[in-house]
Symmetry: C2
Subunit: 128 residues, 2 copies
Amino acid sequence: MQALVLIAHGSRRQASNQEVMDLASRLQQSASDSYPLIEPGFLELASPSIPEAIESCIQSGATSVVVVPYFLAAGRHVVEDIPQIVKPVAEQHPQVTIRISEHIGMSDSMTRLILDSASSHSSAVDPY
Amino acid sequence: MQALVLIAHGSRRQASNQEVMDLASRLQQSASDSYPLIEPGFLELASPSIPEAIESCIQSGATSVVVVPYFLAAGRHVVEDIPQIVKPVAEQHPQVTIRISEHIGMSDSMTRLILDSASSHSSAVDPY
């Protein structure tokens, strides 16, 4: 059974963390055929942590987990922190295939998404 | 003439800023019919600044500018800082229509993009 863990940075603003949890819920609605288990996980400042999210999927029967960094840029968090956090979890569960996907900023679909946003409902800046 | 300014946070890592500039270039290739002018702009730590990017579009003949926040969450930067920075530029150019779109994290297309990333080339985490 395949699981997807959506990893965000985490924020002191609970509303930001809630946005990520809502996104994980929307993913679950649209992709439950491919990924019966979808969990959010936070690098810092919010729960569940990345290990907690992966462990939760494994406890629920995941045999394969893809970790998707919900990050725009390949900064230290993407390049170093996330792999370092995921590795010991993989060590504890050698029977489970754990992969880290590209961060979302690398997606070929990003240009299309930006153009969708540009034509979205938006606020005119009132100069007066 | 319509212009699009893609606003990113800006980073001390030049590679991160370059990712944004490359993305703006890819946008220009795919959307030059809708937006003959596309510029990146940075909130901090990199150039051009947001006012510089908008001014550049106006000097090049833009009559309408849509500012797209390349941010995942509606944090303080999106809710307060970007509108505060854009407003005086709009005041200086009342003949130009300046709009701020939703930040990209709000896009309905985000779930699709995350699933694309999940199935992208990715690295297995070697447990040993």
